[in-house]
Amino acid sequence: MTVGIGADYRDGQRNLKTASEAKSDMGISGLRVLGIETSCDETAAAIVVRDEDGAGHVVSNVVLSQLDEHAPYGGVVPEIAARAHVETLDGLIAQALEEAGCGFDDLDGIAATAGPGLIGGLLVGLMTGKAIAAATSKPFVAVNHLEGHALTARLTDGVGFPYLLLLVTGGHTQIVKVEDVGRYRRWGTTLDDAVGEAFDKVAKMLGLGWPGGPAVERLAEKGDPARFAFPRPMTGRAGCDFSFSGLKTAVRLEAQRIAPLSDTDVADLCASFQAAIVDCLAERTERALVRFEEESGGAAPVLVVAGGVAANRAVRARLDGLAALHGARLVAPPLKLCGDNAAMIAWAGCERLARGLTDTLDAPARARWGLEEIHAA
């Protein structure tokens, strides 16, 4: 098991304060929330503070990755994930509290991911969160995982509403207009594979192990992105939807045609595949930027990119260029807050609590739960 704790990401993160600093900043109306995340293969707990003026601070952020348990299976095995969550979550919560220098009595609320995700894992975090809320008589917030990703830019960069979100993860690829807490307009989504899933599947067929995104990116840097002319699905079409299944199949067919593969072949396949992905993301995002500008009367938009694939440097570089072209500001949360984490869940809890949005302790876990189905104020 790999343990990655919050300590190393304190470097250079301007919004991260020590517990005592955050406490003294907080004033009487600030909120301190425990966040719990167990929707996939990371068990995570965090303490986040929201000042009265809306500024956010990550006080502690602990993540336990299960990568080693799932790697032999070439993907996340839901039952293995759920078994790991139930044996480790309470210890991580204790660690998050200890690092934050606070106890349960100091909390103003408990937020746990209730979906979307793998139901067995979700139930572990949800029940643990409910139990803490019940035993402390503190408010409970059942957080939508996607809302956690969507609101992270407000925690890290204080972004105001509305803004445009490109959410790129192993399970989701969406373009969303974020209008307010709980108010999301989904402009585009993938019709088949998520972009992170496409990376993983290509890595798998090329024998690069799992998870494959970072491996594909590493090899793509050495390869020729123009050697293979892979399709750019959906580009040129109206709307902002994505499709990556045909691209993945095109990579497979080409790889089969030229197999056995040399190191150069593999690098060129990765580079050409990644170039196609980047083109698709950029073209779809540009359409959304234009629509955003039209709807907002020409005001310069803020473009937020979130999710694990936001860590890809080629994706970031292209979005940077796109934002510059449109006079938009690109906000990409630090890598530690791009992947699955509990700080974003705690922050979504803060945002909802600040608006008086809480949930009852009969709240269900939901394997499928779109951003547009979230309750607003």
């Binding site: 070439g74 039952e79 204790a94 029940m127 035993a135």
Partner: protein, 225 residues
């Protein structure tokens, strides 16, 4: 000592609070929905008892075998209570709790018993216990035919959701196991009392008896030079 016990591992959502000589019980048969039902049920039981979570001295939970998800609902909740209150939690297996439930029957008191629950896939979860509730076998997930050869000779009673199937099959192997009861979930007060007798050591952990369904992948990648 005030005890709060939770069982969500099988076909019911049940809670019991033991406070002095009082026992407050809530139990509803449900194949699913434990995650939604448990906290409101506990709130009702606590309100009736006049106690809060801070008044509970020990938490008890069934650890399985049972439905994997149901087991984790109860274990996660009770570990959360223990973490928050700083009070100990103890795990009791569903097999032990069902054996204690069997001993509540007049015809089961003072006699050894085999607990057998339907585990699907043509198997049962089973364990033999002596008259005092001490285990005579390991907990097993096993086909009934194979089980019959492993039941200690002094056991003449079978209890649980697979009791009738085991009893029917026992005749052909020269044993005559009588059905004591076909309950598919333990009595929550019996569960709480078992927890009272235990010495808390570590946090409760699920007892699955089955490995996750997952096979390592092989041969997915294309040939390399």
């Amino acid at each position: 000592m005030n005890i709060l016990a939770v069982d969500t591992a099988l076909s019911a959502c049940s809670v019991a609070i033991l406070a002095g000589d009082r026992a407050i019980v809530r139990s509803v048969a449900m194949p699913r929905g434990h995650a939604e039902a448990l906290m409101p049920m506990l709130a009702g039981a606590l309100a009736e008892s006049g106690l809060g979570y801070g008044d509970i001295d020990r938490f008890v939970v069934t650890t399985g075998p049972g439905t994997f998800t149901g087991v984790r609902v109860g274990v996660a909740a009770v570990r959360g209570f223990a973490l928050t209150t700083g009070r100990p939690a103890v795990g009791v297996t569903t097999l032990e709790a069902l054996a204690a439930t069997a001993r509540l029957r007049p015809e089961g008191a003072g006699r050894p018993v085999l607990v057998a629950m339907d585990a699907r896939r043509d198997e049962v979860y089973a364990q033999g216990f002596n008259a005092d509730g001490a285990p005579l076998t390991e907990p097993m997930v096993i086909a009934i035919d194979a089980l019959l050869g492993r039941i200690p000779g002094d056991i003449g009673l079978v209890f649980g959701s697979a009791a009738e199937a085991v009893s029917a099959a026992s005749g052909s192997s020269g044993r005559d196991l009588k059905v004591l009861g076909t309950e598919s979930a333990p009595d929550p007060v019996a569960l709480a009392r078992l927890g009272l007798d235990r010495t808390p050591d570590s946090m409760p952990k699920p007892l699955y008896l089955r490995a996750p369904d997952a096979k390592p992948q092989a041969g997915a990648a294309l040939a390399r030079k």
